[in-house]
Amino acid sequence: MFNKEDNALLDDNKGTTRREFIVRTSAFTAAITIAKYPVKTIVDKINQPEAGNVVVTINVNGKSKTLEIDARTTLLDALRENMHLTGTKKGCDRGQCGACTVLVDERRINSCLYLAAMCDGSKVTTIEGLGTEDNLHPMQQAFLKHDAFQCGYCTSGQICSAVGLLKEGHAKTDDDIRELMSGNICRCGAYQNILDAVKEVQNA
């Protein structure tokens, strides 16, 4: 009944962007279920917002949160506007800058490209969940030490991305780190210091 692509969607829905999600699901919304909502329900609600909100339960920074939200709400907006976790930044809302990077089930993603409804049942870690001022995560500590930021607006995304990068374990050289951190733009130009910070944590 399902073709290969459908199965891929089912198996790997955490790796699907919100745009892919809408495009790919509009063609076959019959019986697929992502988390607790059938895809058809989410797509219908997106197309007909009057149909009502969705109820989503997400584990954010170790705490389970249940939200009743507009089906069109991105994970980014759910974090910032509904949960007031504003450490995650909106830089472009199009997956082009990386400022909104968070960890979903320990994997780094652009939260502006995820619908919150797709994260039902997921474990989300934001910058607020990594460490606090009194108890900094090693990556936060390294960013502070190496002056790996200026204005601070891309910083949360850079740190979450760097934590995800080290977890992936693909970066062996400076050039690897540079390449694999290239989805996170820093307009102030702290790249050299970010590299130094990531290396320090990697070598610790």
Binding site: R72, T86, K89, G91, C97, G131, L136, Q150, Y191
Partner: protein, 789 residues
């Protein structure tokens, strides 16, 4: 005592930034907040015929749609000084008429309960227009070019010295070239954002701005309410680079919309489109440069003619010749500035407006000249070295540029440079070296600082200025710590709120150079007050000592010759039963050449101006300005600066690698040696210079906005189409400072470092690419296709 001045300490605001706790304009948790989305015109010139908002208004959750038909009337604001309030488009106050001056102009704000509903509603608004033929390209016959009288802040943009034509005809070697730079968009990572909350007739605005005080003034004037009815809060700004220096429509639309629906409203510009049409840009430039020298390479004449663009609703000049008048010694000079009005949004300052693009063209021209003369490019700069300011004959406050050239050449390995271009390889890559001079004015203006030293032994100073990532929080704390003799963790500097006394806007690299001396004077004043208390108190171990016999370290005051004799600030204030000692100090020194004659800071008059104490603008007031006859203010303001020119300098050296098959360019190493006076924090200062260099890499290799040739609509309207440097584009950096204290600019001795890093770097990269390939590209950016041709 080991001074904290210059120490590479971690940023004071760093822990907030790395934990996501720093609050930016769109992030305040405001009860009952509504979401505003603006929509933009899709034509380039004409009138709105009709805006049909009915479908949007019917949508559940929509609270209102504000257009020119129902928006409140605004009052005209014509000021041109960002520090006291500059609206970017003085002849286009938002929503006051149906006229359209450019594509992407704000025409409506949709306000709704949620962001999602607001976005949906915005898509339902139908607009019809009466379109007129726009002028959006300088090559259109309708485009009218004229010569502006002056630039921002009265900058001279038409400068003549000697006889440039005669000088050119006497020259034995000449070059004439034209260089083009495209439109650049700042793209700070934080889009422009404003949240507005009315409480009766008072307004609180959370705004992303480089001019907290200026925007408060501009908002109150435009709304027609008293300045003390408006409070503007902006403790953190997610980058500006000039785009948040002038005030843009979002800052006034949010208060208007909040009044319109009688609820707090937040408006955030969208990156896609909006940040490319309604938030400023750097104008394109066309720069024609003529250089003439004698046989020895000494410049006999320099001509630099720039054409840039502005809008039909304001005039902003990109003065590319501004550095040319002082960078090298030449007897004959002709700087000409042309400008054309186009149906586009108004350009505005972008990191080193004028100098960034001007030093690109001029320093490439110098490279071309060096080659023609068969002189080493560094040597050519030394031959034409200006010991005094060629513009007015004044001495420089401090200039150590020769040292910069020397150290830069050594650090990059200049001796490896092959004078014959396109002839050296490293592995598979062509290798090239280039250099250029960096320069930027050392600006300083007026600041008022309030400082309180508490009985508990800690101090807090406040000034309404900004930290746009430049390190103000940190370096001002270092100045406080040094002057008060308190540990760094016992001092705090507050900014970004109009309840504090007025400080400078963050433009022209002046924040630290302006605020630092006021912080120092305030700290020394408070220290002196406490010492006076102690030496008059029989119970104090410091009793009967003279004030200058006393030193302070780690919060302890002691007799300099006998450090066992002393006590702490805390002990003195506790015994005196004083919860705190405070002061408010204004320092008012202008280093801008254009303003020297207006309010000469070197005269007594200047001191009195500061001493009279402006009303500090603070709503909490309290402290009385104590600048008059203050010895620390006098020491600063009475210094004779009438024959001194204030500029920073530097040398940029670059090594590039070019793939001969694909012509892909890799900047391999950047060496920046900067002469910016006393360094207050080596870490934050280096970061600023690197940041400037990275902007220069963007200009040289990838950045540039494209407009549709048929409609005048921006094509490169997001970060997928407008490329900025990313991690993978990075070279290794070597940033060094001469670190020579500037005795003239202020007793702190520091000049700004925010903008000089972007100057010269683009030319150094372009010159290195020429050295690697033998191909001279004079249209930025230098993309591989231009090298393949």
């Amino acid at each position: 005592m080991d001074s904290i001045i210059g120490k590479p300490i971690d940023r004071k605001d760093g822990p907030l930034k790395v934990t996501g706790k720093a609050m930016y304009a769109a992030e305040w948790n405001i009860p009952n907040l509504a979401y505003g989305i603006t929509i933009q015109s899709t034509i380039t010139k004409g009138h709105i015929n009709n805006i049909d908002t009915s479908a949007a208004e019917k949508l559940k959750g929509v609270l209102g749609v504000m257009t020119y038909k129902n928006a409140m009337q605004l009052h005209t604001l014509s000021g041109s000084d960002p520090s006291s309030g500059k609206f970017a488009e003085k002849d286009l106050l938002p929503f006051q008429s149906e006229r359209i001056f450019y594509n992407g102009q704000h025409i409506a704000v949709v306000i709704a309960e949620t962001f999602e509903v607001a976005e949906h509603a915005a898509s339902l608004i139908k607009v019809t227009y009466n379109e007129e033929k726009p002028v959006f390209d300088i090559n259109q016959p309708e485009a009218k070019i004229y010569q502006p009288q002056q630039g921002l802040g009265g900058t001279q943009v038409q400068v003549k010295r000697g006889d440039a034509e005669q000088g050119m005809s006497n020259a034995s070697t000449k070059i004439e070239q034209t260089y083009n730079t495209p439109v650049y968009h700042h793209n700070p990572m934080e889009p422009h954002a404003t949240s507005a909350v009315w409480n009766g007739d008072t307004l609180t605005v959370y705004d992303a701005t480089q001019s907290v005080f200026g925007n408060k003034n501009a908002i109150s004037t435009m709304l027609g309410i008293a300045p003390d009815k408006v409070r503007l809060i902006s403790p953190f700004i997610g980058g500006g680079f000039g785009s948040k220096g002038f005030m843009w429509a979002n800052s006034i639309l949010a208060p208007m919309a909040a009044k319109f629906i009688n609820r707090p409203v937040k408006i955030v510009l969208e990156r896609t489109g909006q940040m490319f049409t309604c938030a400023g840009r750097r104008s394109f430039t066309i720069q024609k440069i003529n250089l003439g020298t004698d046989n020895g390479g000494k410049l006999t004449s320099v001509k630099h003619e720039t054409t840039s663009e502005t809008s039909f609703v304001d005039e902003f000049v990109e003065p590319a010749g501004v550095a040319t008048k002082m960078i090298y010694a030449t007897p004959n000079l002709d700087i000409t500035q042309n400008i054309v009005r186009l149906n586009k949004g108004t350009p505005c300052p972008t990191r080193a407006p004028g100098e960034a693009v001007g030093t690109y063209a001029f320093e490439v021209a110098m490279d071309e000249l060096a080659e023609k003369l068969n002189i080493d490019p560094v040597q050519l700069r030394l031959i034409n070295y200006a010991e005094k300011n060629p513009d007015d004959g004044h001495r420089f406050s401090s200039k150590n540029l020769k040292e910069c050239y020397e150290k830069g050449a050594q650090s990059i390995g200049w001796s490896n440079r092959n004078i014959k271009p396109g002839s050296t390889k490293e592995g598979n890559f062509l290798v090239g070296y280039g250099m250029a001079t960096a320069t930027y004015p050392a600006n300083r203006s007026k600041a008022t600082v309030r400082l309180k030293l508490y009985q508990e032994g800690n101090a807090v100073a406040a000034c309404c200025t900004q930290d746009i990532g430049t390190g103000t929080y940190t370096v001002m704390a270092q100045v406080m710590s040094d002057a008060l003799g308190l540990p760094i963790d016992k001092v705090e500097f507050k900014l970004g709120d109009t309840i504090y006394p007025q400080g400078p806007n963050s433009g022209g690299s002046q924040t630290m150079a302006t605020t630092g001396p006021a912080v120092r004077a305030a700290a020394l004043t408070v220290k002196s007050k406490v010492i006076k208390l102690a030496v008059a108190d029989k119970k104090s171990p410091l009793y009967n000592q003279t004030e200058d016999a006393i030193s302070v370290d780690e919060g302890k005051l002691f007799v300099t010759s006998d450090n066992l004799k002393g006590e702490t600030y805390s002990q003195i204030l506790t015994r005196a039963k004083m919860p705190l000692v405070e002061t408010e100090i204004t320092t008012n020194v202008s280093t801008r050449e254009t303003q020297k004659s207006e309010s000469n800071p070197t005269t007594k008059q200047g001191g009195e101006q500061g001493g009279q104490g402006q009303q500090s603008g603070g709503q909490q007031g309290g402290s009385k300005d104590e600048s008059k006859d203050n010895p620390f203010v006098k020491q600063d303001q009475d210094l004779d600066r009438s024959n001194v020119a204030f500029h920073s300098f530097g040398a940029q050296f670059v090594k590039v690698l070019v793939d001969p098959l694909t012509c892909m360019i890799k900047v391999d190493k950047v060496v920046s040696i900067m002469d910016v006076g006393q360094i207050l924090n080596e870490k934050t200062a280096k970061s600023q210079i690197m940041g400037g260099a990275i902007f220069g890499i963007g200009m040289a290799l990838m950045e540039g906005s494209v407009y549709d040739e048929n409609t005048g609509r921006i094509v490169t309207r997001d970060l997928a189409d407008y490329l900025v440097p990313v991690h993978a584009d990075m070279p290794t950096f070597d940033v060094q400072f001469t670190n020579v204290k500037d005795e003239f600019i202020s007793p702190v001795g520091a000049r700004g470092a925010g903008e000089i890093g972007i100057t010269g770097i683009t030319a150094a990269i372009a010159n290195a690419i020429y050295n690697a390939t033998g191909k001279r590209v004079r249209d930025l950016p230098i993309t591989p296709d231009k090298l393949i041709v």
